[in-house]
Structure formats: structure tokens, C-alpha cells
């Protein structure tokens, strides 16, 4: 071949090669530009799209704190957490409902045909077959490997002591929030703080540890609470209330047993009550409330204990003061008389004001606070004692939901018979007090004059194991002087003795113990004004001790149906049963021999 043609062939080949190179370079350039566009220009868009699918955020629930109570020196849990399982089925995937039902009945019990019918439900992808299965049952069902059958874990509050102290404890609703009682009042401390995980996950939702920027915050579990409640005392109180509710034909009973020297509430209960593990089945929500702290009523003549203490502390009367009782007082155009005319107008003394429950006597004591008349000075002085000394008209701060502050009328002249109103407050009408407020006030009178805050929490145990012991908190000192406190004890003991002599034989206590008290028969206000003539609440305040009062007991009996004064026949027998319970079970330490 000639050299020029070889040269032509070579040039053409080189040209073709160059064209191929050019095409390859163009293609590579296109890829390169596209890659640059995707990975650099659109980086944020694609990263966001990937993260929206891969980045998962979970909340790690915190464990709710448990609640414990005392049991003769040891501590027992009364509210615990338990993870139980809900069994559900997806009817679309259940091929043989009867076979599945027959297989699960030996594990969870129940009726196979009911389960089979549920699994045949049309137009639904989720039917619940059973609640509150144990982990063991859930594992056995999982081992059956039926498609469409599954279990879902759910945390529940568990009450090993049944309905004991139900209203004091409260319950936790489906949203994990405490309702009523301790669960509500201490919800923030009990629920802790959930943690969170924010991480890129795989297809199963498991976080990939190698990813930069994973966030994991551990949950902070709730605090455990040890209450001041004595379990056996609480159980016996509830038994007594249940029994006396029937005996007195009551419409509701509340009682409090408190240590007057610390403010610790040893037992507090109401009847009727409910089962907190089945709160969703309760039809009357009123039963959720701890009436001892939420129900403020006119306390009736139990108020005379406070009136007497206030008058003694002001020095306007002495324990042995006597006075002429005209058997009625005309105040703001209305006659104040006694429930029962005991012998008409005559000399009376302080002891008989309490023993005979003289409304005229209580009114007279109020007059002494004003120098002989019910006036601004008397009203202001008595108002000061009711609110600043005995702390009525304000919440005690006890760890309970919905505590009522109750009502103390203002002493300011409102032009609507304020003197009459205040005369009524001296014997426990026209003023509202809860059972716990009354317990706090009476405790401060009998313990030497110190108002300790009533409280239910004895210890707080944090997740790290550290423990805080709650010390008694003094809300008011010198409520009354120690001398007045000592003077009040025999006056109240005398009431019990006199009632024993009058025939209430259940008030017979050994001389080894000091037992004092006061009845109250309170009229009930009508909605339109005035009072019912045939409806009364029975109340009782008292103490039990040896050398000094060790327990204060307050009883509120709502409209007892038994014949006789509501205080004497509705409140007093309940007090006596509780006092005997404390003595018979050696809760009250005997006098040293």
C-alpha cells in the first residue's frame, strides 16, 4: 500500500478515536454535572428527605414512682407499677377465628365463641379481645404465631391492698396523669421526666449507633413516696366507717386520725369509697373525692372547742368562770337559743357550755371578746383566731387534690346582720370547715399551742436512692398558750365523762388513758337561704392519749338517719369506735407505772 493512503487511514482512525473520546468525555461530564447537582447543589433537599424517613424520635417513658405506707415499723408498697398486655386481633388476617379462639382460651380464659365472634367483626382492623394479661400469657400467645393476633404492652397502676385508702391515693388516668388524692397532688414528683431518643434508624426502627448527631437523654424516673398512713389503723378505720355507716343510716362518713404533735395523718377515710384499679367503672364521680379535705360543712358545736380556747387565750374568761345564762340572746333582731332548753335561764360555767353544748354560752364567750357585747372588737378578735390562729378559711396544704379552703365570713359590717352571723360562727354555723381543717385546729389546741401542717408524706425516695425525711412543719406558734392548752384538756375530758354518765356507755375508757371530745349537731343550709328543720350533720372532735394527747380524731357524719341528736348519735359512736380501736391495738402507749 502507498504511504499516503496509510497516512489517510491513520488520520481517519485517530479522528474516530477522538470523536469516541469526545462522546465519552461528554457523557462523563453529564454524569459529573448531575452528581454535582445532586450531591452539592441539592444536598440539603436530599438530606432532609432521607432524614424524614430515617430519623426517628422516640420518647422513653419514665417509671412512675410507687407509694408506700407504714405497717407497724416496716414499710409496705400500696401502689405499684405493672406492665400488662392488651390482646388484640386484626380480623382481616384471622383465617379460622374458632381455631384461634380455642387456642387462646386455655391461656387467658373466657368464652371461645365470644372471642371468635369478635374476630369475625367486619369493617374493622382492630378488635380488643382481652385486657391486663401477664407477660407470661403474652409470651404464650406470641408462641402460637397466629397471623393477625398480637399483644400491646401498657403500664398500669396496681393496688395490692385493694381499695384501702383509695380516696387518699387517687388514681392515674389513661393519659398518665394523677387524678385526686396523692396521685394528683404529687403528680410532678411521681411521674418523673421522660427521656428521648433522636437517631437515624434502620428499617426496623433500631437506632444506628454510628450516626453522628444521635441524641439520647435518659428518663428521670419519678420519686417514690412513703406516706404517714399506718396501714392496719387505716384498714380498721375503714372497717369501722363501713359498719357505722349502716348502723347510723348515714349518707356519708369521713374520719381523720392525726398525730397532734407532728401533723402526721395516720389514717383518713370516707365511706362510701371505690376500687381505684377499676375507677373507670365508677358511676358517681363524687366518690373519687377525699371528702375529709374537699367537703366543707358547717361543723356545729364542735366549734365551741375553738371558741372556748380563743376566749381563754384572750384572757376574757377563765376555766372556772361562771356567768348568768338568760337562755336566749337577741342579736340583730333574732333570738339565739339552745337546741334544748336545759333548765332555762340560770348560772352556767365554761364546763357546762361544752358539756350541755350551750349556743347561748358560746355567744356569751364571743361577747366577752368584745368587752361584753358582739361588736367590731369581738368580731375582729374572733375572726383573727379563726383565720390566723386556727387557720380556718385557707387550705392546710396537705398533699391531696381539690382541697377546699372552706369559708370564714368576713367580720366587716355588711349591713346584713353581721353580728348575728358572727354569733352563729361561735357555735359552728355560718362558717364552713373541712374535717382536716378541724383536725389541724384541734391538734393545735391540745398539743400546747403549735399548728403543725397536716401532711401525708413521710419520706421521699429519689431514683438515685437518696431519701428525704419530711420534718414536721410549724405553720403557727402560740395558737393558744401552753397554759390554755392544758386547761382545755380536762374541759374536753369532762364532756366524755358527762356523756358516759348520761348513758353513752360505749364512752367507758380506762383511767389509764385520757380521752376528751365534743359533739356537734349542725343544721344544713337550704339553697334559698335559712336552714332545714329536719336535716342535720353529726360531727365529733376528740383526742386520745395517756400523759398527753397522742391522737386527734375528727368524725363527720352526713345526715345520720338514727333518732336523736346527730352529734351524739351519729358522730359520737364513730369516735368511740375509733378511740377503742386505737387503745385496743396498743397504738396509744400506756402511762408509765
Amino acid at each position: 500500500m502507498a504511504p499516503s493512503s496509510n497516512k489517510n487511514i491513520t488520520t481517519k482512525a485517530v479522528q474516530r478515536i477522538r470523536i469516541v473520546y469526545g462522546v465519552v468525555i461528554v457523557i462523563v461530564a453529564i454524569f459529573g454535572i448531575r452528581l454535582f447537582y445532586v450531591q452539592v447543589i441539592s444536598y440539603n433537599h436530599y438530606r432532609a428527605a432521607a432524614l424524614s424517613d430515617q430519623l426517628k424520635q422516640y420518647q422513653i417513658p419514665a417509671t412512675r414512682g410507687i407509694i408506700e405506707a407504714h405497717d407497724n415499723g416496716s414499710v409496705l408498697p400500696i401502689v405499684l407499677n405493672q406492665t400488662l398486655y392488651t390482646l388484640y386481633a386484626d380480623p382481616v388476617y384471622i383465617k379460622d377465628a374458632q381455631k384461634v379462639a380455642d387456642s387462646i382460651v386455655p391461656i387467658i380464659g373466657g368464652n371461645a365463641s365470644d372471642y371468635a365472634n369478635q374476630m369475625k367483626t367486619k369493617n374493622t382492623r382492630y378488635v380488643i379481645l382481652s385486657h391486663k394479661l401477664t407477660q407470661d400469657q403474652a409470651n404464650k400467645i406470641a408462641a402460637l404465631k397466629f397471623p393477625g393476633l398480637g399483644t400491646q404492652a401498657q403500664d398500669y397502676r396496681t393496688y395490692p391492698q385493694g381499695s384501702l385508702a383509695a380516696q387518699v391515693l387517687g388514681f392515674v388516668d389513661q393519659g398518665g396523669q394523677g387524678q385526686y388524692g396523692l396521685e394528683q397532688a404529687l403528680n410532678n414528683d411521681l411521674q418523673g421526666k421522660p427521656g428521648q431518643v433522636k437517631a437515624v434508624t434502620d428499617a426496623n426502627g433500631i437506632p444506628l449507633a454510628a450516626t453522628k448527631g444521635n441524641v439520647e437523654t435518659a428518663p428521670k424516673d419519678g420519686d417514690n413516696i412513703v406516706t404517714t398512713i399506718e396501714l392496719p389503723m387505716q384498714a380498721q378505720m375503714e372497717q369501722i366507717l363501713q359498719s357505722d355507716y349502716k348502723k347510723t343510716k348515714s349518707q356519708g362518713l369521713s374520719a381523720v386520725i392525726m398525730d397532734p404533735n407532728t401533723g402526721q395523718i395516720k389514717a383518713m377515710a370516707n365511706y362510701p369509697s371505690y376500687d381505684p384499679s377499676n375507677y373507670q367503672n365508677v358511676t358517681d364521680p363524687k366518690v373519687f373525692s377525699n371528702a375529709a379535705v374537699t367537703n366543707a360543712i358547717e361543723p356545729g358545736s364542735t366549734m365551741k372547742v375553738l371558741t372556748t380556747a380563743a376566749a381563754l387565750d384572750q384572757g376574757v374568761i377563765k376555766p372556772d368562770t361562771s356567768f348568768y345564762d338568760p337562755a336566749h340572746w337577741l342579736v340583730d333582731g333574732f333570738n339565739i337559743t339552745d337546741i334544748e332548753q336545759d333548765g332555762g335561764a340560770r348560772q352556767q360555767n365554761i364546763a357546762s357550755i361544752l358539756n350541755l353544748s350551750l349556743n347561748t354560752g358560746a355567744t356569751w364567750m364571743l361577747m366577752q371578746m368584745g368587752g361584753g357585747d358582739i361588736n367590731t372588737k369581738a368580731r375582729n378578735a374572733w375572726y383573727d383566731y379563726m383565720t390566723n390562729h386556727f387557720r380556718l378559711g385557707q387550705v392546710t396544704g396537705v398533699e391531696q387534690g381539690y382541697e377546699s379552703a372552706a369559708i370564714v365570713p368576713s367580720p366587716k359590717d355588711n349591713g346584713a346582720g353581721i353580728d348575728l352571723t358572727y354569733a352563729n360562727t361561735a357555735f359552728g354555723q355560718a362558717v364552713q370547715v373541712t374535717a382536716l381543717q378541724m383536725a389541724g385546729a384541734v391538734s393545735s389546741i391540745v398539743n400546747g399551742g403549735t399548728y403543725y401542717q397536716p401532711h401525708l408524706v413521710d419520706q421521699v425516695i429519689r431514683p438515685d436512692g437518696s431519701t428525704t425525711k419530711i420534718q414536721p412543719k410549724v405553720l403557727k406558734s402560740n395558737v393558744v398558750s401552753p397554759k390554755v392548752s392544758q386547761e382545755m384538756l380536762p374541759l374536753m375530758e369532762n364532756v366524755v365523762q358527762q356523756h358516759l354518765t348520761a348513758g353513752f356507755t360505749y364512752l367507758n375508757f380506762s383511767s389509764d388513758y385520757m380521752v376528751g371530745g365534743k359533739t356537734g349537731t349542725a343544721q344544713i343550709a337550704q339553697p334559698g337561704g335559712g336552714y332545714y328543720s329536719d336535716k342535720f350533720n353529726g360531727t365529733y372532735v376528740g383526742f386520745v392519749g395517756t400523759d398527753k394527747p397522742q391522737y386527734v380524731i375528727v368524725v363527720y357524719n352526713m345526715q345520720p338517719g338514727v333518732a336523736g341528736y346527730a352529734g351524739s348519735y351519729g358522730g359520737q359512736p364513730v369516735f368511740a369506735d375509733l378511740a377503742h380501736m386505737l387503745i385496743d391495738n396498743s397504738y396509744v402507749t400506756k402511762k408509765a407505772q
Binding site: D71, L76, P77, I78, L80, N81, Q82, T83, T134, Q135, A153, T158, P160, Q161, G162, L164, I206, P207, L208, A209, A210, L231, P232, A235, T505, Y506, N508, F509, S510, D512, Y513, A576, H580, I583, D584, K590
Partner: protein, 115 residues
């Protein structure tokens, strides 16, 4: 060995007959551009592989951690169940209705008289 003697030794390796060994220079081998490029690519791939193995290993630990956490949760649930069972065994109702309690005789309390 001295520097000059090492040079002499290198030269002697390439000595052959009829060759001008004085002007003979020791041949130094260098990597060409293609070899360098391929080497770089291989090294980059090796680094990439190393990175992948480390990431995979770390993620594998993540799965182990997840399994351990699930085991921990399961044990905690079992512990909770045992606590509940223990508390129920100590409940006042159970004690009151037990055979031991039923065989007990109530004693009239001293110190009080009640109607």
C-alpha cells in the same frame, strides 16, 4: 559501606561487556502517571472499605445495645410483677382471711369496756 562503594556496587550490577560503565547511570524506577492514579484509587477504595467496616462494627454494637436494653426492660417488668406478687402476699385482706387468722381466738381487750 561508604557512599562511594555503594555507588560502585550499583554500577557493577549493570556492568556487562563492552559497556561504558563510567558514564553508566543507575536506573531509578519511578511510577508513571497511570500507576499513580490507579494506586490512589486503590488506596481510596481501601480507606473506604476501612471506614465501612468501622461503621458496620459500630452499628453492630448498636444492635447489641438494643438487644440488651430489651432484655433489661423485660427483666424490669418481671421484677415489677414479682414486687406486685410480694405485696399482694402481704396484703391485710390476705392475712385477715388466712387459715392462721381464722384459727385465732379474739381476746377481750384489757383496759376498756365497750357496749
Amino acid at each position: 559501606m561508604t557512599y562511594s562503594s555503594s555507588l560502585a556496587m550499583n554500577r557493577s550490577r549493570y556492568q556487562a561487556r563492552n559497556q561504558n560503565s563510567v558514564s553508566f547511570k543507575a536506573q531509578t524506577r519511578t511510577l508513571g502517571p497511570i500507576t499513580s492514579t490507579i494506586s490512589l484509587i486503590v488506596l481510596a477504595c481501601l480507606l473506604g472499605l476501612l471506614y465501612l467496616t468501622q461503621v458496620t462494627k459500630t452499628n453492630a454494637y448498636g444492635y447489641q445495645i438494643n438487644n440488651l436494653q430489651q432484655t433489661q426492660a423485660s427483666l424490669k417488668h418481671q421484677n415489677d410483677d414479682l414486687q406486685v406478687a410480694s405485696a399482694r402476699l402481704q396484703s391485710l385482706d390476705r392475712a385477715k382471711n388466712s387459715t392462721v387468722a381464722k384459727n385465732m381466738v379474739s381476746v377481750a381487750p384489757s383496759g376498756t369496756v365497750q357496749n
